[in-house]
């Protein structure tokens, strides 16, 4: 090989450069269309992302190292001070939680009365953001938790204040999160004040969402809090999303243009929460309906459920239905 190296080929060998260009451009366009329209390339992307993980790790290293350094050199007094502050905050939050726990229990009992199924609990996991920079014209971040920690595609991501976005691609060790402000992201929301449902779409600016599908006469005012409605099936209902900041109503347009500011600190957070929704087993009404005709005591069963709420709330984890027990 060494001997032949002295003479460089003047003319390119193999297929001509033009052919190669045509093939490369066609392939790129095909990939673009498939990725944009059909989202079929997740597997390929995950594999490649796993192979290039060392690069991402290296790019993140200076930041991680500087943080580690500042952590080990931090002052004892500072640490004690932070510890004290956190302890106080923890106490305060616990007191508030007591109130919410009783409210949640009451809410569950009421929902059980009207036979509505309800998601009981959410499991959360804290993940750290990677400091790696991505395409500046896309709103996305990388988190340092991946499929190995149970992260899945489409999983909701929150910060301490509100909804941040959802997981777009997962590799075993990290995951890409699309923020709610990305132009490709749409989130079903409702106004907390009156339950008005609509969709919040990203604008590509980190501090702005738009609600394009609200008629001019819809009941929405500046300062309204938007929460997730849970209708898309991906986000659990009831989490805060954004505050309405600006409403332009022009009489000749069918829709008013409404803008909202995300409550989450999308550009400042360093830690995010990943949420798993745990469905409970309350909704066992179909079996009851099946047994009701056999008993021929259908009118009797509604009064029977009335003194029930206290018991049934205790029996949420169990699969046996108190009604069927009483009827037999």
């Amino acid at each position: 090989m060494r001997g032949t190296l002295t003479i460089k080929p003047i003319f390119a060998q193999g297929p001509s450069q033009t052919t190669r260009l045509v093939v490369a451009v066609t392939l790129s366009l095909a990939l673009l269309v498939i990725d944009h329209r059909f989202h079929h390339l997740q597997q390929l992307r995950s594999t490649l992302a796993f192979l290039t993980y060392p690069l991402q790790y290296l790019a993140d290293l200076p930041y991680t190292a500087s943080r580690w350094l500042s952590e080990i050199t931090s002052n004892r007094d500072d640490l004690l001070e932070t510890n004290r502050e956190l302890h106080q905050e923890n106490l305060r939050l616990k007191v508030e939680l007591q109130k919410y726990e009783s409210l949640q229990a009451e809410n569950l009992r009421l929902r059980d009365l009207v036979d509505s199924s309800f998601k009981v609990g959410d499991r959360v996991l804290v993940a750290e953001l990677s400091s790696v920079d991505l395409d500046p014209y896309k709103q996305q971040v990388i988190i340092k938790k991946g499929a190995a920690s149970g992260v899945f595609e489409g999983q909701p991501v929150l910060d301490a204040r509100a909804v941040m976005g959802q997981v777009a691609h997962v590799t075993p060790l990290n995951a890409t999160v699309v923020l709610i402000t990305d132009t490709s992201h749409a989130l079903p929301v409702q106004v907390l004040r009156n339950g008005l449902r609509t969709i919040a779409i990203g604008t590509g600016r980190i501090d702005q969402l738009t609600l394009p599908y609200l008629p001019t006469n819809s009941d929405i005012v500046e300062g309204d809090l938007l929460v997730t409605s849970g209708l898309g099936g991906k986000f659990p209902p009831g989490y805060p999303v954004a505050t309405v900041t600006r409403i332009n109503r022009s009489p000749d347009a069918p829709f008013s243009s409404v803008f909202a500011e995300p409550r989450a600190h999308l550009d400042r957070t360093r830690e995010v929460l990943l949420v798993w929704t745990i469905p409970n087993q309350i909704s066992v009404s179909p079996p009851v309906d099946k047994e009701a005709p056999a008993d021929a005591e259908a009118p009797a069963s509604p009064p029977a459920t009335q003194p029930d709420p206290a018991n049934s709330s205790d029996q949420i984890p169990g699969t046996s239905d108190p009604n069927t027990v009483r009827d037999t």
């Binding site: 090989m1 190296l5 460089k8 080929p9 390119a12 060998q13 450069q17 033009t18 190669r20 260009l21 490369a24 451009v25 392939l27 790129s28 366009l29 095909a30 990939l31 673009l32 498939i34 990725d35 944009h36 390339l41 390929l44 992307r45 490649l48 992302a49 290039t52 690069l55 991402q56 290296l58 790019a59 993140d60 200076p62 930041y63 400091s131 790696v132 920079d133 991505l134 395409d135 500046p136 014209y137 896309k138 996305q140 990388i142 691609h169 890409t176 132009t183 490709s184 590509g204 550009d267």
Partner: protein, 158 residues
């Protein structure tokens, strides 16, 4: 042979690191197209080894790293490497400032292709800042050229 390939891949990896390295928010829109610049050097220096295929593969890896649609950077880089291969004999003999102008043209073409793709898929219109990026890249070109030439001579890659 394979040694040389490792060196080329290493320089491209450094360029990718520079592309991902955290920068303050204000500086992010001005990040030069490091990977394109390094790739262009290798295409002009070794057109028989680094060509359209390499551009495509590097582009795909860059797409995965920066989270853009798969194919966006691959499209731009394959087109730019193709043009660079056609022009490499001329660019090699240019003085630095003229080389920079040629590189500026190539960087603008790559950026324009990327803009078309983002425009066709999402409709975000970046500001005038967007066009400062190729300009910064062209200004950096002489230094990149000199550094990589030193690397190439050091490792005797041909």
């Amino acid at each position: 042979m394979s040694e040389g390939r490792l060196v080329i891949i290493a320089t491209l990896c450094v360029a990718m690191l520079l592309t991902m390295l955290p920068m303050p928010d204000w500086a992010q829109p001005f990040r030069p197209q490091w990977v394109t610049l390094v790739l262009l050097y290798w295409v002009i220096a070794l057109p028989h080894r680094v060509g359209v295929g390499s551009g495509f593969v590097v582009g795909i890896v860059l797409d995965v790293l920066t989270g853009t649609l798969l194919g966006q950077n691959a499209l731009g880089l394959s087109v730019v490497t193709f043009i660079a291969i056609q022009l490499h004999r001329r660019i090699r003999v240019f003085p630095f400032w003229q080389q920079s102008l040629g590189i500026l043209m190539l960087l603008v073409i790559e950026h324009l292709l990327a803009l078309w793709v983002t425009g066709a898929t999402r409709g975000v219109a970046p500001g005038l800042n967007y066009w400062a990026v190729p300009l910064i890249g062209a200004l950096l070109w002489p230094w990149i050229f000199v550094t990589l030439r030193k690397v190439r001579r050091q490792f005797r890659i041909s």
